[in-house]
């Protein structure tokens, strides 16, 4: 932003005492109109400049001081997220452990590989949300999918499934008892539903398709509906990180 010409009188003032310049013929310093020695255009420019500065500072202040409005539901409790330590990561077989991921945000989704609509829809929303993060934020965001269909999803197939969406995603699975325990802790409901067609291996799973966001402090911070957009989720993740 340029400063108006209000400094012109000072810089030109010494010229009047220059012995080589005849004070009677030398051009007058630019100090012409206005009661306060400032011309109307200059005054207008100054007012505009202050107004523009005000808007800029105002917007900065809003960005800095106003709370981010999460698209997800924000939880205020500072309790650590349920540990799910009876479950294992599908890639390493090691027990689930938030401690090792301390400082990271963990996104947890309960789903199953034979889920044709809501699970891939949510997984691709997550993938696109992660695309909006910078490399450091991306590196600090973990995505875990907990299978609610251990009867069909073995660790290997679950891990292959999640890596289809992003090679960094991790499957989480375990015994029915451990999955039941984890889903109860997260308030996740799931139930096997036979499809219209016959066949013992052919069923759908009704399940809570919300996304759970564990903050860098290890507390469960945000729950998103599966209908959240990638833009909303990306903005929330940036804030949570």
């Amino acid at each position: 932003m340029s400063t108006p010409e209000t400094s012109a009188p000072e810089t030109s003032a010494p010229e009047t005492s220059n012995p080589d310049v005849d004070p009677m013929t030398a051009p007058l310093p630019r100090r012409s109109s206005g009661r306060f020695g400032v011309s109307m255009p200059v005054l207008t420019a100054a007012v505009v400049a202050v107004a523009v500065l005000g808007v800029v500072v105002g917007r900065w202040a809003v960005g800095v001081f106003s709370p981010h409005l999460y698209a997800g539901t924000v939880l205020q409790a500072d309790e650590p997220a349920p540990a799910m330590s009876a479950l294992s990561f599908a890639d390493t077989g090691e027990p689930v452990d938030f401690g090792a991921e301390s400082g990271d945000v963990v996104l947890i989704f309960f789903g199953y590989t034979n889920c044709p609509d809501v699970c891939p829809a949510t997984m691709s929303t997550v993938t696109r949300a992660l695309d909006q993060l910078d490399p450091d934020q991306r590196a600090r965001t973990e995505v875990w999918m907990v299978s609610v269909d251990p009867g069909r999803d073995d660790a290997e197939s679950l891990q292959t499934y999640v890596e289809f969406f992003d090679p960094e995603f991790r499957g989480v699975t375990g015994t029915v008892k451990a999955i039941d325990q984890a889903s109860t802790q997260y308030g996740v409901f799931y139930e096997l539903e036979p499809t219209a067609a016959e066949g013992a291996d052919d069923y759908l799973v009704d399940h809570t398709a919300s996304l759970f966001g564990v903050g860098p402090d290890g507390a469960l911070r945000v729950i998103w509906s599966p209908t959240v957009t990638a833009e909303e989720l990306g903005a929330d993740l940036r804030e949570l990180l």
Binding site: T113, D117, V118, P120, A121, S157, Y161, D206, T208
Partner: protein
């Protein structure tokens, strides 16, 4: 200018109609697509927006393709507390009156494709035949892509 606009409209109409597929010009189709099938799964979903350009009500009866052992018309319901369930679409879900759209989209109505032999890969397309209560069936080229 009128001629230019006229030819532009004619071209647009031709382009639009090339998306209609064959069989019927009374139902128009936009953005037919299918999710790529993740490995280890034998099902995926097909989406499309059908518009009824006729002056009578119609209903989608079925969507068939050789790429899926069978197809079912489903609707994903998401409750206020986030529980997603898939329910078979009922006739009422599949009705669309004159000028109305029947939109198959994520987390809503979708054609569930079950029993995929060859994985659906991004970039390919395959034919799906939509049959209606009224009029000729419509064959549509469905592109496999990410949302």
């Amino acid at each position: 200018l009128t001629t230019a606009v006229g030819s532009a409209l004619a071209v647009a109409a031709m382009v639009a109609c090339s998306a209609c597929g064959s069989g019927s010009d009374s139902i128009t189709v936009s953005d037919p697509w299918a999710r790529p099938s993740p490995p280890e799964t034998d099902s995926t979903a097909i989406y499309v927006v059908l518009t009824n350009r006729t002056d009578g009500a119609n209903r989608l009866v079925a969507a068939k393709t050789g790429r899926c052992e069978r197809t079912e018309l489903h609707r994903t319901e998401i409750s206020d507390d986030g529980v997603a369930s898939m329910v078979p679409a009922v006739d009422g879900d599949l009705m669309f009156g004159p000028g109305e759209e029947l939109a198959f989209e994520p987390n809503a109505l979708h054609v569930m494709c079950i029993g995929i032999e060859e994985p659906l890969v991004v970039g390919e397309s395959f034919d799906v035949e939509f049959t209606f209560a009224v009029g000729e069936p419509l064959t549509v080229a469905v592109a496999v892509r990410q949302p």
